[in-house]
Amino acid sequence: MAGTAVLGRLNWQIADVVELITETPRVKTIAFDVPGWAGHRAGQHVDVRLTAEDGYQAQRSYSIANAVDGTRVALTIQRLEDGEVSPYLTDELRPGDKIELRGPIGGYFVWEPSDGGPLMLVAGGSGIVPLMAMIRTRATAGDNTETRLLYSARSQDDLIYRDELEHKSGNGLTVAYTLTDSQPPGWTGYARRVDPKMLAEVAPGPAEQPRFFTCGPTPFVGAVAEALVRLGNEARAIKTERFGPTGG
């Protein structure tokens, strides 16, 4: 990235809603066709802008969920009860509607197959989204980089992309789950908050120099990053992306 700055302005582009997919009771994926979309890297985000009839505007940032696929851009959005933007996106949008977005944005929390691994992804709740873009990018490229995902959610119903993760497992991808609030009968995964012991069990050791990406709510990401440092990993190998409960 450094030295390759393309200083062109990221203009607002019109995005056509082509498909809405219900992922969980609170989460939808909205797939857009964005004519002229020039591609993106896994981990990047877009800004979405909504305009009311009287000209009032609101913007929010959302991680891109899909691997590069022509002009398709998929956002997976959790509905925040008192949010200003997310309830509109998840409840009101229909195929054929248009919104504005601009991106892709961000050059740090990104991974490409040529970056290599081993890759250790730690997701809390809807923090899975940019990490899923990495897993999908890896799969699309036929890449076999050793990749481990530790995915924490409250309950099985809150797991996003579960079937796809099962399907993509293998070829160097392993997925471990922890359900913090409730577990279905016969659950064999973890059943507590992510802690240093769990990370030590799931993550490659520091000697393997894994690349860490962790995304989720602020306390989750803070705890994961601190634990990884305590386990002996280099701070600079740990890339974090946090989102707070505000605004949405």
Partner: protein, 201 residues
Amino acid sequence: MPPVISRGFRGRRGDGPADRIPPGQYLTYDFPVLSAGPTPHTPLDQWDFSIVGEIDEPRRWTWEEFRALQSEEVTVDIHCVTKWSKLDTPWKGVSVDTLLDGVDTSAEYVIQFSDGGYTTNLPIEDVTDGKAWVVFDYDSEPLDPEHGGPARMLVPHLYFWKSAKWLRGLRLQSHDEPGFWEINGYNNYGDPWLEQRYWGD
């Protein structure tokens, strides 16, 4: 291009004074945390603050020396590029004018450098004349590490990534040098009122 109207979208109105919330921002009452990596924890007895680069004599303060400098209380609005704005945030710290008092330099730029390797760049005139502080208290409490403690920069007139957390010093330079986010897609200057979020804005 005229904006696309979202049928039925109303948004949240009257949420704070419009003349204090820059375009594309929304008001928050929380204090969200954003950082690119783990939170550093430098013990205060190993902490120092230095001014280096184009300066006749580099300056360095230990924590105790730094805290003995004249400090100010400031209450300002802050604006994060991730869209939140927070009004009337109360800080205590040392004005950059105090740190640079008597310094003879031809530098036109300042690079903030932090524990963890973070840097961010500014024209020197954006941190002088009462525009920037190195703060160590928030809301009358020592600044929490997740918000940049023991000390962070405060440059409230620019997006908040221009206010480095875990600040350890300032480097004075005659040439500009894009910092961490500035080489990763974010604007080199970052004026929230001009909505300078990204490259080319």
